[in-house]
Amino acid sequence: MNVRLYLWQRATAAVMAPLVMVHIAVIFYATRHGMSAADILSRTRGSIAWAAFYGLFVFAVSIHASIGVRNILNEWIPVNERRIDACAVFFGLVLAALGLRAVAAVVLS
């Protein structure tokens, strides 16, 4: 871990903290009001705000988690650093692709 990765990981954690709180609040709201999947989708479809909210969340998670995975691999697996970097980047891209696909599913469809 160097200072650049450290700052990216801390910055993305700082971004995620309020987003997670809002996300949990949304879950509570939806379950308390007995909202169905159709009710939720009717509110999220076409919403630029929800797309931006969860898009930012996916972006932050992908960077944060891939740096964490890089650290774990670096400490636990005796493989050279380039391969570990490649694994971490791949992991981040997979997270981003899956996350953005999920966001598209609730916003665009």
Binding site: M1, N2, V3, Y6, E81
Partner: protein, 240 residues
């Protein structure tokens, strides 16, 4: 009442084993006394390192019942539960023989962390007047009593997991010098500790703080270095 200790000592190099000895239990006995008894009365081929015997030199650190300690300042009565002691070489360092480790990697990391004072004046200049109550001087003083015993380095999980991690002692030394107003090497020093294996590798497990025989707090020093290097990086003063 027990009159003997059962003492297991590491014998051999990396692929050695523990061997058990019976040592008379005495009052005010230190772990170093026990090791010395074995060498002088049972097996003179036992290798170990010590010098001052009073907690000044930092050369007698060993692993005592699973934890790194100064053996000269560790009383048997405090650590030998059930009359048993297991004494091994320090962790995270190559074993030369028995209880003696090769400290070279430890001191090389001090060099890598730029733990050497970089003077800004010569001996011909007047002696610098240092105010003892400034925040920087207090931060420098906080860890100035480190005697390089290697206990924190042996206690550190991150050192165990990450071979190039500089470790708590070297980074604490760096933090001391970062705060020394007479030192002129901070540009190079911050650059050295901001890269891979530097201060940001620390997980803040705090084993170093818990086991430091001098009651120093390397974890706090490393946390402060993280903040200082992050600020320097954001200002463009260092690059990685």
């Amino acid at each position: 009442m027990t009159t003997e200790l059962s003492v297991s000592l590491w014998r051999g190099a990396r692929n050695g084993r523990y061997e058990t000895y019976r040592v008379p239990l005495r009052s005010s006995q230190t772990v170093l006394d026990v090791v010395t008894f074995v060498q002088r009365h049972i097996d003179p081929t036992l290798s170990y390192r010590f010098a001052c015997r009073v907690g000044v030199c930092g050369s007698c650190a060993m692993t005592v019942n699973g934890k790194p300690r100064w053996t000269c300042r560790t009383h048997v009565a405090k650590v030998a539960g059930g009359g048993k002691l297991e004494i091994g070489p320090l962790e995270n360092l190559p074993v030369i023989k028995d209880l003696t480790t090769d400290m070279q990697p430890f001191f090389e990391k001090w060099q890598q962390a730029k733990g050497v004072f970089a003077p800004t004046q010569t001996r011909n200049d007047p002696i610098a007047q240092i105010k003892p109550d400034t925040p920087a001087r207090k931060a420098a003083d906080a860890a100035i009593e480190c005697i390089n015993c290697g206990v924190c380095y042996a206690a550190c999980d991150t050192v165990r997991w990450t071979g190039d991690y500089l470790g708590p002692a070297a980074l604490t030394r760096a933090w001391t010098l970062v705060n020394d107003e007479r030192d002129g090497g901070n540009g190079v020093r911050l650059q050295a500790i901001a890269g891979a294996g530097g201060c940001h590798t620390c997980h803040s497990h705090q084993s170093c703080q818990e086991l430091c025989p001098q009651a120093l707090n390397p974890t706090a020093a490393i946390a402060a270095l993280k903040r200082r290097t992050a600020a320097a990086y954001l200002k463009g003063e260092i690059a990685v």
